[in-house]
């Protein structure tokens, strides 16, 4: 893996994480290539969201290696970690918009802190980002005044603000009606084509994941139960994989 232009943007090796007695991840390994979108599937409480937080350094692993954009993030200090974080966008499960800031200010937040843009440049960039996610008419609204789907769109615009090389999605379609979920899925496909970013998408939505991912990783009891394309996993003879895909298809 090279710093820039290498094959893999994320490489996870033998990653382990436990909370007290409960081992959430028991030594998983996988890679995400440049420009690739990997969907991480699994049951609730199976450590999928924890995996994303480990990738961005919000939690520390108990053992194993996490390399993001060529940096071993488990060995970085706070400042070095922040440099890596600027290259990664994160869409949280509930969007995690800042309550006290308007839609516009939420998207401008990372730009204010990490770019030397003038007010006009920043305003144009925010408009552009919000237009990409279809939210450019609600700039002045507060997060509490918009729907869950709209909040996810704004969260996505904020995640894209620093033009990241990697995007992490935590349940991007959870809690949304099928139409809004499909719109968010389409948005991910559109952004993937437009920006050519790598992405890790944690989801329960098997068919949604099929639409926007290149590869799937299925977690079960802290291990990777199966890895491959939608067709590979759907044709698997493993009992858990068959069960997951049969329920996921209903």
């Amino acid at each position: 893996m090279k710093e820039n232009g290498g094959d893999f943007l994320i490489r996870i090796t033998d990653l382990q994480k436990a909370f007290g007695e409960q081992k959430v991840l028991k030594g998983i390994s996988f890679e995400v290539k440049r420009g690739e979108t990997v969907a991480v599937l699994g049951r609730s409480g199976g450590g999928k969201s924890v995996l994303l937080k480990l990738i961005i350094g919000l939690q520390a692993p108990d053992a194993g290696s996490i390399q993001v954009a060529g940096k071993e993030i488990t060995k970085l200090d706070e400042n070095q970690l922040n440099e890596v974080r600027k290259r990664v966008g994160f869409l949280f499960q509930q969007a995690a918009l800042y309550d006290s800031l308007s839609v516009e200010d939420n998207v401008a937040f990372p730009l204010n802190r990490h770019t030397p843009m003038s007010n006009e440049e920043r305003s144009n960039r925010v408009h552009e980002l919000l237009a990409d996610v279809g939210m450019d008419r609600d700039l002045r609204k507060m997060p509490s005044e918009i729907s869950g789907g709209m909040q996810k769109r704004v969260g996505l615009a904020r995640a894209l603000a620093l033009d990241p090389e990697i995007l992490l999605f935590d349940e991007p379609t959870a809690g949304l009606d099928p139409i809004t979920a499909a719109e968010i899925g389409d948005l991910i496909v559109k952004l993937k084509r437009k920006r050519k970013m790598s992405a890790v998408v944690v989801t329960h939505d098997v068919h949604g994941a099929n639409a926007y991912s290149d590869r799937m990783v299925l977690l079960h009891e802290g291990n990777i139960a199966a890895e491959g394309s939608f067709d590979d996993l759907q044709g698997s003879q493993d009992k858990f994989v068959k069960q997951f895909f049969s329920y996921g298809s209903r």
């Binding site: 937080k53 961005i56 919000l58 706070e78 922040n82 440099e83 974080r85 600027k86 990664v88 994160f90 949280f92 499960q93 509930q94 995690a96 918009l97 800042y98 309550d99 937040f109 990372p110 802190r113 990490h114 904020r158 620093l162």
Partner: protein, 278 residues
Amino acid sequence: MSLTIFVVATAISGTLVSNRLRLSFPKHFFISVFEWFGELGIFVTRLLRACLAPPYEFRELFRQCDEIGSKSLPLVALAGAATGVVLSLQTRDSLVRFGAKAFLPAVIVFSIIKESGPIITGLIVSGRVGAGIGAELGSMKVTEQIDAMEASAVDPYKFLVATRVLACILMLPLLTVVSNFCGIFTGWLANTLSEPISLRLFLEDGFKNMEFTDYIPPVVKTAVFGLTIGIVSCFQGIRTGGGTEGVGRSATNSVVLSSLFVILADVILVRLILMIWG
């Protein structure tokens, strides 16, 4: 003093009870207290680093000064005014009995400036601001807004904690001045309703024996109260867990603990002030 420490330790362990009911009481009590202080130590270290290292969040600091200072002003002024009236009525009655009515202005001014003003302001702010900070940061924590900030490469200790703690330190002395002013004014007002005396004469009598060194310790004391309120309520907020119930618990704990620590700090600081300035 040991009683105060026991009360504080009990309150701290009480904040952690829900997670550790399975442990026996004495073991739980000591583990909780040591755990709380250990986490507080780590929190303060991160806070110090956030305060010292650039970049500085001046815009957010001014916003917090407005939030903590301006918006607490009416409540603090009202509490100060009420204290002045009560102090005047109660003291007047006592001084008349001892034939020392002439000392009334000095007693009101000294007691308000040296003790009543600072402690009333400290407790009012710990109630209003402590609950607000605890609930706000707690809610940000459980809705992953603090994680989102960290994921955006912004240090939440710098943006959220340092600004609030500094605003508390800066605003408490200013709010105390307002509280003192209102207390002295209403003290004169209550006094003059019973026995008319000009404001000028009241102030001259009240401040006649007051020296500059009488003003400094209370001001320093209120800055320490601000530090205490800021640290305790931010700490309680940022370690919130357990959803909306946890947010409620953090808000309550912020008020209870910051009030207790303000009282404890007052006891220690008054002793120190008397040792230094006599």
